[in-house]
């Protein structure tokens, strides 16, 4: 479904990712793991279209090279970015409405929003408050919900657990798990190795812009050295 080949990503003159290849099948949850500065966010930004890259990114068979940021989203790629980036001065409800800006079935949009408010009553209670007043965990839920409002084919999740308390973290991962079992295709970037391994069908380990290892989670789970490398715990 999503296929990156020899992808190089640039930040201005600096090359942050040096030619990696990644495949995500429909319905899979693929994790991209690695330490700070490994190039995870750069990779995901390239897919979303907000970073310069060389090499090819193919989505459902079509090359994305000439496709703008906006059209990538319209093609079904949704991003829940690092740092959440909710629209803090807009209300919770308006944030969700913007997520559905490309849809024209107003009634379905309304019922989807209500669905989110029911499954996350915290959001429902504060639907008319500005989103900036939400806590970190609530903002993360809102970010994921906002991305899903467009009914995407694939969800790019960038560090959803960043800066969250362990308990809230579990809540976020429970949501991701639910999404996965509902059949959503997910590319998950994480530093939180244990949970990400738990979820993933397939894992890529990224280190200083290269893929240093890959495999399904069983392979990783049994390799003690690799776990050490990933978690930094020896």
């Amino acid at each position: 479904m999503l296929e990156l080949t020899h992808l190089k990503v640039f930040h201005g003159p600096i090359e942050a990712v040096h030619g990696i290849s990644i495949t995500v099948q429909r319905g899979q949850c693929v994790s991209l793991l690695g330490p700070n500065g490994a190039g995870k966010t750069s990779t995901i930004s390239a897919i979303a279209g907000i970073a310069d890259y060389q090499g090819s990114i193919r989505f459902q068979g079509a090359d994305l090279a000439a496709i703008s940021v906006e059209d990538r989203q319209r093609a079904g790629i949704a991003l829940a970015p690092e740092g959440r980036r909710i629209f803090s001065n807009l209300t919770v409800k308006e944030n969700l409405l913007i997520g559905a800006a490309t849809r024209h079935d107003r009634r379905a949009v309304r019922s989807d929003i209500n669905h989110w408010f029911e499954s996350f009553p915290v959001l429902g209670e504060r639907r008319d408050q500005s989103a900036g007043t939400l806590s970190g965990g609530e903002q993360q839920m809102l970010t994921i919900a906002r991305a899903l409002m467009s009914k995407p084919q694939i969800l790019l999740l960038d560090e959803p657990s960043l800066g969250l308390a362990p308990l809230i973290c579990q809540q976020v991962f429970r949501l991701i798990k639910e999404l996965k079992s509902s059949g959503m295709t997910i590319l998950l970037v994480e530093q939180n190795v244990r949970d990400a391994l738990d979820l993933a069908d397939y894992v890529y380990l990224l280190n200083s812009g290269h893929i240093s290892n890959e495999g399904d989670h069983n392979v990783f789970g049994n390799d003690a050295n690799l776990m050490a490398e990933l978690t930094g715990i020896h």
Partner: protein
Amino acid sequence: MDYAIQQILNALSFGAEYALLALGLAIVFSIMGLVNFAHGEIIAAGGYSMFAISALLTGNPWVVIVGALIVAVLTSVLLERLAFRPVRYADPATGLLTAFGVSMILQNLFLLLVSPRPIAVTNLYFLNWPIEIGSVQISTLQIFETVSTAVAITVLVLFLRMSSFGIAMRAASLDFEMVRLMGIKANRVVAVAFAVSGLLAGLACIFIMARRGSVDPTFGFNPVLKAFVACVVGGFGSLGGAVLGGFLLGAIEVGMLVVLPQSYGGMKEAFVFGIVALILVWRPNGILSPPVEKGDKL
């Protein structure tokens, strides 16, 4: 008492004009960080179109008014396409200088193609006649101006709050890239911002024209200089700030006329800008914007 009411009305109508223009500047700035100094030439374009319409088509004032509004909107959108798109993601200084360049080009085009001298357009004088309410003598233009500014602001607020595109525009002023990531076309957001800005300029143009009755190449320069200042005082990028700044500037200006002795009348400008500079020293980012933190102070 009558004198006070009269001056308050004066301040309101001055302020309304500045608020319209400041709002036009602010809506573009909030979305793409561009200080559009060429806004004044959009007003001038509206003024020249009034002349062209009444000379070539019809003197019917309503046609002239609608025509000027359309021309102002088109000019604004066209400027974005031609001049501002290449610098859309550049830093504000680059945008500001580009806008200065555009403003120079247009002013001199008017000079070259039309005339360096003022051109009379008298169709709109009918908007401006004196009436008496109680013992206060005012001009209908002041009422029109204040009322239509209030209407324009209300419509704009409704658009930004209620319509989904309006919500997207508010979102774009917070995080433009994120809005694009939501699949909303950047070009459309920017084009609508410029169109709204042009419409507000067109509206202001009508009132300035009804008062002055003639247009020249630097027609829009001074009003926009004031609007610019109003924006900054109110808090650049904040729409509420633009309106507040506009009315505040109107009040300061009328206040200066009242307070300053006749012989210093010419120095009004110096005092107004001096007060503005002091406001900025007090709050560098304008009144309605929170103090910015540039990382930790060391």
